[in-house]
Structures are given as structure tokens and as C-alpha cells.
């Protein structure tokens, strides 16, 4: 008589699966570096053709030239300052302009030959002086 041979059903022990997955997860958690983006937020003005000439009070000019010299002050009263002085000068001007009932707007104008680093440092100092109204003169 032919005897039916019982097939052995192979079993896979999955109990270590969780350990392996956990190990992989911990490995990726430890080795992954999260890149954080940091920077100075800015909204560019509209195109020059659309931009309307502003006739507002409280404008303070900041000029940066090719030799990276900075001029700061109200229109016609600009004086040369160092980067470190910008914050204090702007705070003083802000108080002066606020006393007259206006709010300060800082207009930055940079020459093509000036360095980007100095431009960003000026922006940084303006932010240090807690001034948010910045205009980019073109």
C-alpha cells in the first residue's frame, strides 16, 4: 500500500523581525542629519516699472559703495558709519521719527561692485534694530 507522506510545512520564525526593524530604525535615527534652513526673510519689491515712487516720510537711506563704505541718515543728511554703528544709529533715528508721528522705513541702495557679505550684514543690523520696513532701492 502506498503511504501518503506528510509534507512538512516550513515555518519562518518571525519573532526577531521586530528586533531587526528596530535596530535599522535606531541606526537611521542616529545617522540621519536634519538639515535646517536658516536665513533672513525678505520680500522683494514689485518690478521697477510697476513700482510707484514713494513720497513717504520717515525714510532713512543706507548706501553701500564699491569700497564697502556705508552712508546712513535721512535724505541729504547721510553720514559715514561702520557696520557696528548701524544698529545704534537706526535706533536713534527710529525714536526721532516716531516722536514726529511717522514710522521708519529703511531704504537700502547698494552699488554693483559692493560685496554681498556687507549687504547681508547691513540687513542683519537693521533686523537687530527691530526695524521691519525695509525697501530696496533700484
Amino acid at each position: 500500500m502506498l503511504k501518503k507522506t506528510e509534507r512538512k510545512v516550513g515555518e519562518f520564525n518571525a519573532s526577531s523581525m521586530a528586533d531587526i526593524t528596530f535596530l535599522l530604525l535606531v541606526f537611521f535615527l542616529v545617522t540621519t542629519t536634519v538639515s535646517t534652513d536658516k536665513g533672513i526673510k525678505f520680500v522683494l519689491p514689485q518690478k521697477a516699472d510697476d513700482a510707484t515712487p514713494t513720497k513717504v516720510k520717515g525714510v532713512v537711506n543706507v548706501f553701500l559703495n564699491d569700497d564697502n563704505q556705508i552712508l546712513l541718515g535721512k535724505k541729504g543728511k547721510e553720514e559715514e558709519v561702520s557696520i557696528q554703528q548701524i544698529k545704534n544709529q537706526l535706533t536713534l533715528l527710529d525714536r526721532e521719527i516716531s516722536a514726529q508721528g511717522d514710522s521708519i522705513i529703511v531704504s537700502i541702495k547698494v552699488t554693483p561692485g559692493s560685496t554681498y557679505k556687507n549687504y547681508v550684514e547691513i540687513l542683519d543690523q537693521i533686523k537687530n534694530a527691530k526695524i521691519d520696513r525695509i525697501s530696496l532701492a533700484q
Binding site: 530604525l25 536665513g39 533672513i40 561692485g113 540687513l123
Partner: protein, 134 residues
Amino acid sequence: MIGTTKKPPQGQISTASMPDIIFMLLIFFMTSTVFVEFRGLPVKIPSTDNAQKIEGKRNLTYCFVDTSERVSVDDKLLSPKEVTSIMYLKRTNNPRIVVSLKIDENCKNDIVDKVQRALQEADARRIVYATKTK
């Protein structure tokens, strides 16, 4: 009885929920991870005191400018005019786009101005000057 040692109770922690926890963690990281799709240009970005953390990575587009005035977006070297067209496309796809300008600190403001004008043309006016914290 005195002298007999008491065996500590042999409690077992059920590990049945372990795969669920792991899957949950895995799904969380899978959905929250945004992969970098470019390599960019080697630039040395300036350091500032007011480097704010930028939220919303999905809306960020990077624009690299190096000292040799090369402009790169999505690993393609472009002229300012091409930047306008690519940014215009990106802005129509996502109106909330923010352009992160990774410009080398030794660059001249001439090229910065050209890139900014290109972005203005494309009406992608929300930008971030990428900086490091001092």
C-alpha cells in the same frame, strides 16, 4: 519559613505591540522626510545674528550663486533670464514658493541684483538670504 529565599516574580513584557510602534515611527519619518534633490554649488554663506529658521521645506527652492558668478537652480547652470522662466514655472506650480538664495559671501552685489531682478520678473518675490548663525 525562615531561611528560604523568595524568588522574584518573573514578569514578562508583551512585545506584541512592538511592530506597531515601529511601523508608526517608520510611517512618520517616511511622510515627514524631504529628500534633497540637488547638490548645488560650493558656496560659503555669510553669518548673521538674525538667522531665522525657515519653515515649510516643501515650498523652498534653492538658488546657488558662487564667486565665479555661476547661477544654479536644480543643479542646472542658468543665466538670469533662464532663472526667470524656471522660477515662473515653479511659481505657477506652487504660488507659495519661497526662494532660498545661497550666495557666496564674496560675491559682488551685481550678480545678486541680476538674480533678484530675475525673480521679480517671475513674480517669485518671497526670498530668503541663506545665512548661518554667528
